[in-house]
Symmetry: C2
Subunit: 707 residues, 2 copies
């Protein structure tokens, strides 16, 4: 890679105040990074053009080169399929003539004479600068597929070879690249190499704002970019400030494991937020020091009150704010003077009500004093390992491995209600609100190394710094699943963009692809986020892709199969010996294969024998059970036998994911609860949900490289 | 339409024992139905070919015509873009030579010389014979879109002009037909006319098994089929026997409203099916006569028992079978002799266990005596308006407007459990099992005219007679919503097919398109089927497309908007006067527009005023409410005020669909129930489900032509 050559071209373009590179400049940039382009040359006279065409051989394309003319075709500046010296000369003349007619007096650098490509598959390779994620690289098929069906895929740049290859399979029409109608496939390695080079180029030169290779002709022997379009940033490019992992952890640890908490605006008056927060800290059982701050009180709820945080004896780790917005800046300065590392800003009345100025003011104070701030405009946060309930809601006491965060207060309340009603074991619930400072990547960095957290679920509407999020997510998802509900996926609308790739990036697909690239599981809706969060930590990680359905109801078996396909699970192709082994337990008219239909009238022993075999055989990775309520095997009998067998195998060190769908009268509700309590994920009246949860576990395990 | 011409060609083809028409024969068929094709002629010598080409003008395509050669390209029998007399002569010679080399001694009818089409959009128009639905017509774009992305749409043939037009918008890439990259759109009327003509043709001639126009070139001025492929059925084509609507209703009425029921195999022994059925009939409160049939008893559960049904005094409307499979045929003959119109066959041990013979035997008996049969292999059926519980499950007593049916017993049990736990108002629950006789279209025909039923939900794995289903569904869905859970949508696999259209039809898309065409709402899963069934009859029919979201939580608003887009709902574009009206009620930093974000800290009066305005303004058709649990407006306060306002408007004759998503602590569960009880569809902890239910209502209303 010849960085110096690119640097020289870009400096020249910027020095001339241009936003776009000319085609020959674009070709030089491609050459410098080894991106293949057609043979070509620049002709300044008709005779030069004819000589170039002769040298290239075969038909050529002739294109105007003029800094003033960006839309060459529109200006009549392109003639394709030109063959023979005379025809090339004529094309040269016509192009120059058209250019003058189009623009008046353009600076004509010359006419580009280019080898005609074709015969392969037209694809688009591009890169753009996403407002959330920065440099992203894009890939799609040319023509209708990308323009009408938006069949395009994105990755954070730079991509490595494996990621580049994954992009080729990341589009709906991927099959086209492997050859259709008996035609040959394209050279996937060559195409992936182009993607990787483009991603390196825009990473090396952040001032390249948008980059289009459109079309690239991909053939069985290689890939060559027929047209290059490069736009540069005319303004200075700055990267966001990112604290180091150690800096983040130092303060996050103080926030989540504080030795002392001060409540600014603590109150004795029932119904006030400062009263609720005090009560929740005390009733929640927080064991550290609690300091009410209130200039008008000497004692609040039995604790000594101080007129200002400065007067609290000893250090304060967390200051929870329960005062109106207008009082926040002054109190925050006092926190800074006191050396408080973390502030929890419950009050609303900042950016969300249009008061951006007030928010900017507190951000500035935070920076000045090195205070990390949660909020403003939040319900507060819970961290159950410390019995810490710094919110105006009620305490939550079912400890467990799930950490949940929400950008919206309403969603936070839904998290709390759902958690309570399902008795979900929770490590933390955190409100992020306006995200003036602490955001998702800070929390992911903390939860990654927090032994109390096994799974993270996040509701978010946007990311302040998508790249920092991806970095943190990539680390944690290697160890723990992260579920993300990204709201606003249909409302982003198009952005003005100067390139094809830029225009295509203006939709939810960028978030979707990059979240997947970072290893997180994206939940399609709120309820799925909650159910995934509840279930994922209860399930063991599958050791392979072979899913087997065992069902007492043929009808459930069909629906469970549908759900497996919908959720990207692989129904195991049962080998003959295993098929025979299953057949020994089921009636002759039952169906082995997969689903294994044990039929409806069977006694508990048939369920037990087949489940046992499913757990025993090492080729089977996960079980999906379909239960049918009968008098012969009532719901609780099924639930108890399943738990007994599963626990027996767990004791032997064999722990496979087992999920169950229970079809029956209302008794199946209690049976499902019993199963859930024993880490068998079970739901009544639905064949989709247990499979969706298993699918989420698989999605995580694959992304984490565990399969 | 020249039917006689087509008849003559088809008769000739079948007389010759051929399965495929030659290209010239295909062209004549197209001509007879006014399907445009390129100018062309048949040449038997090289000179004739040259003369034809001269007459057509421009470049031509030359194609071998030989009954033995079906794959012309493969045989080297096609040369395209031939221009000039000499070139045409050479092409003729080469084609004949290739054909001989390919086949040995083919019958060479000649060489087809055809006008070259191009420049337009390549599309595929076809028809095939679906095993479930019979003649279906297909439409898709040519090339990768249809081959790789399977972007194709189907309708039951024949289609009217409106249905044909709807097909053009029924593909993902529909935008292409309207013109892309500034190009002109195609002549949609011309293309729709081709579709309609093809559908008429295959309807008029059922022996046409498969029909491909591939490609059709669609341009701004018309549409012309460049290649025609027609395959005929070599065996006799028979239509299934379909009882008339009156015949169906006569027996279905006896089945659902019987004056007397006999239980064959009634028993005094606890745990036996014949005992459960007797108890459920009696305890369920059925007021007609109940006759136990048992040769060994004189009385069962206080009712006189008879040794055989023949000895029951007076007529019997329904015979419920609770005897082992092997005893069914003899007892069924006795029912026939007695003149019983309807038999309910609970026993299993028929086709589902591989005993097809036994099933064929009972079907024959049924036909012989004119007995309509439900089952075999079912749990029985409920019809609550008659307190009729002819099943071995327990009685169900919450009467209401929902009729549910299931093909599978397991799913039937899930229906029962879900109904009970949600207190769903039910008119009927019917098991269909093996569907040896009575099937979905019989039930739809009954439910259509049953005043006790307002909504039908059906679980099905296949349809015995898809065309009869569509006919019945089209009638009833004009009046009442029908929800269908079609299982097995991912497992149909490909079928061997002789045409492109035939191959494409081998997937779930045929079911999906034709179910939609018939006006039913397809539920994506079991839980959705149950939730739609529960909610649809409780909601009024919307009067327009304008949906408005009113939310206390901005976060819920975003998720509710996502859900609206996902479910095909139109978020109203709020006009300035209405925007101003809403703004009067909400804080200055709240957001009008849509969602209307009243913000989180608002008192009940703000919810009330905005809901009131939403109901009042005639431009708004439906409301989606997003509630956020706060101390200022607790859950039950929100629920009660919403019900009060909605009921006030209902009393004034204004009844709009109102659905709600409640985000909050566990109290929102009770509030949701209260809302549901008052016909405001409300769910806690989910933003998706209330909107999905509203979406289902809209989908039905649109299909019924009510919007």
């Amino acid at each position: 890679m010849d960085k110096a050559a690119v640097r020289e071209i870009l400096d020249k373009v910027r020095a001339e105040g241009r936003e776009a590179l000319t085609a020959p400049e674009g070709k030089l940039v491609c050459d410098a990074y080894g991106i293949p382009t057609p043979r070509e040359g620049l002709a300044t006279t008709a005779d030069e053009a004819a000589a170039l065409a002769e040298e290239i051989g075969g038909p050529v394309a002739c294109k105007i080169v003029s800094p003033e003319i960006l839309h060459k075709t529109e200006a009549g500046g392109v003639v394709v399929g030109v063959q023979g010296a005379q025809a090339v000369r004529e094309a040269f003349g016509k192009i120059v003539e058209n250019a003058k007619a189009y623009h008046g007096s353009p600076t004509i650098t010359g006419v580009q004479v280019q080898e005609m490509l074709g015969g392969g598959q037209e694809v688009i390779v591009g890169a753009t600068t996403d407002p959330t994620f920065g440099k992203v690289v894009a890939f799609g098929l040319g023509g209708v597929l990308v323009e009408v069906l938006k069949d395009v895929t994105f990755r954070l740049a730079p991509v490595d070879a494996a990621e580049a290859r994954s992009m080729l399979d990341g589009i709906e029409a991927a099959e086209v690249l492997h050859g259709v109608r008996g035609g040959p496939g394209v050279d996937l390695d060559a195409l992936a190499a182009v993607l990787q080079k483009v991603s390196t180029l825009v990473t090396d030169f952040p001032e390249i704002r948008e980059f289009d290779l459109n079309p690239v002709f991909a053939t069985a022997d290689g890939a060559s970019a027929a047209d290059v379009r490069i736009l540069v940033e005319t303004e200075e490019v700055t990267e966001p400030v990112r604290p180091s992992r150690e800096e983040i952890l130092r303060v996050m640890d103080r926030l989540m494991n504080p030795r002392s908490v001060a409540v600014i605006g603590a109150s004795d008056t029932e119904g006030k937020i400062g009263n609720s927060v005090m009560k929740n800290l005390i009733n929640g059982g927080y064991a550290g020091a609690i300091h009410p701050i209130n200039p008008k009180a000497r004692e609040i709820l039995g604790r000594t009150a101080y007129p200002s945080i400065g007067e609290v004896p000893g250090p304060v780790d967390v200051a929870v704010f329960a005062v109106p917005a207008k009082f926040v800046p002054a109190a925050l300065v006092e926190c800074g003077e006191k050396g408080v590392p973390a502030a929890v800003l419950i009050p609303s009345g900042f950016a969300e009500t249009g008061n951006q100025e007030l928010q900017d003011e507190i951000v500035e104070i935070g920076h000045r004093y090195g205070i990390r701030m949660l909020g403003p405009n939040i319900y507060g946060y819970y961290y159950t390992p410390k019995n810490l309930c710094a919110t105006f809601c009620t305490p939550y006491d079912v400890r467990g491995g799930v950490a949940l965060t929400s950008q919206s207060g309403g969603i936070g309340m839904a998290i709390l209600g759902f958690s309570r009603t399902t008795k979900m074991g929770v490590s933390a619930i955190v409100g992020l609100g306006n995200k003036s400072d602490v955001d998702e990547d800070d929390l992911l960095t903390f939860f990654e190394q927090d032994d109390n957290t096994e799974c993270v679920a996040m509701h978010l509407e946007d990311l302040k710094d998508g790249r920092a999020f991806v970095t943190a997510a990539r680390r944690i998802t290697k160890k723990k699943p992260v579920v993300v509900l990204k709201a606003g996926r249909t409302a982003m609308g198009a952005r003005a963009a100067g390139s094809h790739t830029g225009a295509l990036a203006g939709n939810d697909k960028v978030y979707d692809d990059i979240l997947r690239q970072s290893g997180v599981v994206r939940a399609p809706g709120l309820n799925e986020m909650l159910e995934y969060a509840r279930s994922l930590p209860l399930m063991p990680t599958p050791q392979g892709e072979n899913v087997v359905i065992i069902t007492g109801a043929g009808g459930s078996g069909v629906l469970l199969s549908d759900a497996c396909v919908d959720n990207g699970l692989s129904l195991m192709d049962i080998p003959p010996d295993l098929d025979e082994a299953f057949r020994r337990f089921i009636p002759p008219f039952g169906a082995a294969g997969n689903p294994i239909d044990i039929t409806g009238g069977e006694p508990p022993s048939t369920y037990e024998a087949t489940i046992r075999l499913g757990l025993e055989d090492p080729r089977i990775s996960a079980l999906v059970l379909g239960y049918w309520h009968t008098i012969v095997t009532p719901p609780m009998v099924f639930a108890e036998l399943t738990v007994r067998v599963v626990e027996e195998f767990r004791a032997k060190g064999i722990d496979k994911p087992v999920v169950a769908s229970l079809a029956g009268d209302t008794e199946v509700e209690k049976a499902s609860e019993y199963l859930f309590d024993h880490r068998v994920i079970a739901y009544p009246y639905t064949t989709e949900r247990p499979v969706a949860v298993l699918g989420a576990k698989y999605q995580w395990a694959r992304a984490a490289g565990l399969l």
